[in-house]
Amino acid sequence: MPRILIPTPLRQYAGNLDSVELNGKTVGELLGALTAEYDELRRHLYTGEGKLRSFVNIYVNDEDIRHLDKEATSVAEADTISIVPSIAGGR
């Protein structure tokens, strides 16, 4: 099953897990399954209109889905999906 890596700031909304394995053929399906399981995650990943938020990037392996087929990007069994939100801390 494809593995989704959950970043530190979002783990509190995903049962404190750092990764989740779920079934899905595309990025959209996987994120749908993820937010179905962890409802609190939804507002952190999607806007009220259901669009992926522009400060949260999704990668299939090392490639940004904005440069692939966005949420329709297909996902293979062994792929790793990373959710990478922007963080600003530095002090």
Binding site: P7, T8, P9, Q12, D18, E40, H44, R53, S54, F55, N57, Y59, D62, E63, D64, H67, S82, V84, P85, S86, I87, A88, G89, G90, R91
Partner: protein, 384 residues
Amino acid sequence: MSTPVAAGLSNEEILRYSRHLIIPEVGMEGQLKLKEAKVLLIGAGGLGAPLGLYLAAAGVGRLGVVDFDVVDFTNLQRQVIHGTSDVGRKKLDSAAESMREINPNVRIDRFDTALSSENALGILKDYDVVVDGTDNFPTRYLVNDACVLLGKPNVYGSIFRFEGQATVFAYRGGPCYRCLYPEPPPPGLVPSCAEGGVLGILPGLIGLVQATEAVKLILGIGEPLAGRLLLYDALNMRFRELKLRRDPECPVCGDHPSIRELIDYHQFCGVPRQAAAPAEGQMEVTELKAKMDRGDKFVLVDVREPHEYEICRIPGSRLIPLRDLPKRVGELNPADEIVVHCKSGGRSAKAVEFLTKAGFSTVSNLSGGILAWSEKVDPKVPKY
């Protein structure tokens, strides 16, 4: 390649940089490049601390530091450029003293100011490399845009709890911060280090990734961390790398840029420049103390996290963490008078808003939270 360099090295410098001089990739030529180099550090905090110490030690000839802050006790867990006796001093003074002690050959330029749209281009223009060690989104976008407009590489690092990101933006026309994140998160959705915490060691590691990249850029050796986003996860001790591409539609570095000068970054990030005037329903800590002393009937709700409640608490308070409030609201009676508090007043303001919408009529927010309680009522309650 040999670039003629005006200034040579003194005998003291030759001895000091001996371990550089005997590496073929650095050598005398590289050390002179370091001496000629001008690097600007934005922020003398968690990331700026290791950067300042190591870049000074490495012999970077001129180091600019931009910071307006004062050292406080909560900085010392990670900002190793400052010591206990520096608490209360300007970070600029404390950092400059540490850097000068390590290497008196370095010229240090101090900018005792917050970087702004008005001063950024003027400050950045004299430097070869800009290193971003700030802690907020408006300044991150400001530094990015200024670097793109001036054609300077922006060595980026950011941290949160156990996780860090680093890359080099705007390197020879490469991708910039806006290509990675076109827009900032709305205020309040992403916690800062002050709210979310940070493992003290983490900025040391990410700051030194930035220092490494700055030195490589100056020396012109190796493969810069450009077009790649390095992710570091301290808990799993894992480094990963993601591809970062320039966005042809990017408003600042794209093919048809719409941003040709610096904008209002506070507005862009939705952050008000000044704190709003105290809203209705605020309660001062002294008033809370008077209510307690009078024996008034009310419920004091602490909406912080359980691990914060372990550190300190106000006597008689009831812990309901903010995110549990929606499912535990039934434990409270809308007819009771309720006072809500958190660490400094931000989360409790959200709780007051929630409770008011839920039909509670007498709810107030304790101004300044438990920090104000410690400051003005009971100093035995520790600040954190």
